[in-house]
């Protein structure tokens, strides 16, 4: 091979970058999907769990727009139950801890909802953690 030294160095760098996730996870405990602290005094969410997992952010977005722009604030869930469309008063009423629920998933999925720039998470505030 001509210029073997340079080409091999290039290939080694390329391979290291390409396999980054493999060696980054070496020696780490095997991945578990995040453990969530579920509400104790209720059995189900606003809609079925499967749907909530995938679409809760869009639901929140709809709520926000409905409340702030249209001034309506009652949401009727799939089972006819009615909820006040509020992030802090509804979601966080059942899911009392942001850290042990929302954040667990979000850290793993590397999303940082900017909602908490303004909204406050109840339990953390009560405990003076924030």
């Amino acid at each position: 091979m001509y210029d073997a030294g340079k080409i091999l160095i290039g290939l080694v760098i390329f391979l290291l970058l390409l396999t980054f996730p493999f060696w980054y996870s070496l020696g780490q405990a095997s991945y578990e999907s995040p453990e969530l602290q579920l509400p104790e005094d209720s059995q189900e969410c606003i809609r079925d769990t499967e749907w909530m997992r995938k679409n809760h952010m869009q639901l929140l977005d709809d709520w926000r727009d409905t409340v702030v722009r249209e001034g309506k604030s009652v949401y009727t869930g799939s089972e006819g139950k009615q909820y006040d469309m509020s992030l802090q008063k509804t979601c966080m009423d059942c899911h009392t801890s942001k850290k042990k629920f929302c954040d667990r998933c979000h850290n793993s999925a590397s999303v940082e909802p900017y909602c908490w720039d303004c909204h406050v998470a109840p339990e953390e505030v009560a405990n003076g953690q924030q």
Partner: protein, 331 residues
């Protein structure tokens, strides 16, 4: 016509996982076996292509020059576009790889005044489109690292935050998704609308574009429209990385389509023009300094010719030459 072939191929690639993972439910095949296979083919194919290039001799010194070469001391040299030193060449390569400098120099010929006058103008659109595409692609790749690392290194978080800094909608809209779509659309329309380009475009040229289109569109669908369960997908991808594959039930056909298209890209990559990822570093026209007149370039291909010099020839025939009265140089 060429575009149509390519479109049909990509549609076929979309239908395979829809049938296989969607209808037939072969999740382990599409979620585990094919990704491993595709990654292996990509790595080995890439190494093979680069090593093969490395073994090919460069018979001539052929740097392309884009400026005044090194000359008399009072003539100013363009040290980057016609570099004669190693440093100059390295700078040139860096600019080429990161900023596509040679595309920046594109020109366009036009006839004007009733086609009686010719003018050369600068044409930056290809450069802009190519740069927009590549940068977006790179950022998207980096953002996907959140699926393959745990804990996710902060660097990838920052890239994600920066990309979504406009905070439009929930989940936030990423700027690169719009940019990559526009860039791909431009790169495609360019081939279709410019007659000269249409003439030289082959099915492979369109295939790569359509395949990328399909990947981007399936990804966008999954993020904003037919939402996928990110947490379960991460279980799958981390299983792949830690070599303990696990296939969560809930993952839908759209995700497998996205993944299969990416696998297709990986398999296709080493054997196609997309290998310019490795090739740009091995381009003799870019990575050789323009020092033709200072240093002799020996063709490594030169066959070791067996010489038979005049002296040797004379030694052989001296007697006969003398007999015939032909003058000899050595008695």
């Amino acid at each position: 016509m060429n575009a149509l072939y390519a479109l049909i191929m990509v549609l076929a690639l979309v239908i395979i996982p829809l049938l296989g993972a969607g209808a037939a439910g072969w999740h382990a095949l599409f979620g585990v076996v094919l990704p491993y296979l595709a990654f292996t083919v990509f790595v080995l194919g890439f190494l093979y292509r680069v090593v093969k290039w490395g073994r090919s001799p460069v018979p001539f010194k052929i740097p392309t020059t884009g400026g005044q070469q090194e000359s008399l001391p009072w003539i100013r040299q363009n040290r980057i576009d016609s570099p004669s030193t190693k440093t100059g060449t390295v700078i040139r390569m860096i600019l080429e790889v990161l900023l596509f400098r040679s595309l920046f120099r594109n020109t366009r010929v036009r006839l004007f005044k009733d086609e009686t006058q010719l003018s050369y103008g600068s044409s930056k659109f290809l450069w802009l489109g190519a740069l927009a595409f590549h940068v977006s692609f790179f950022v998207i790749l980096a953002r996907h690292m959140r699926f393959f690392t745990e804990p996710v290194p902060a660097l990838f978080n920052w890239i994600e935050t920066l990309d979504g800094i406009m905070q439009v909608g929930v989940p936030v809209l990423f700027a690169t998704e719009i940019v990559i779509l526009l860039a791909l659309a431009y790169l495609f329309l360019r081939r279709v609308l410019v007659p000269q380009l249409r003439y030289i475009s082959l099915p492979t040229d369109y295939f790569a574009l359509f395949l990328l289109f399909a990947i981007v569109i399936s990804g966008i669908l999954m993020r904003y429209f037919v939402r996928a369960d990110i947490v379960d997908i991460k279980t799958l991808t981390m299983g792949l990385i830690q070599l303990q594959p696990e296939v969560p039930e809930s993952i839908g056909a759209l995700f497998y389509t996205h993944l299969f298209l990416v696998c297709s890209l990986l398999v296709y990559f080493p054997w196609s023009k997309l290998m310019h990822l490795g090739g740009v570093f091995l381009s003799p026209t870019r990575n050789m300094p323009n020092d033709n007149r200072m240093r002799r370039h020996v063709n490594p291909w030169n066959y070791p010719v067996k010489l038979h010099t005049y002296e040797e020839w004379e030694d052989e025939y001296r007697d006969k030459m003398k007999e015939a009265g032909i003058p000899v140089e050595k008695e």
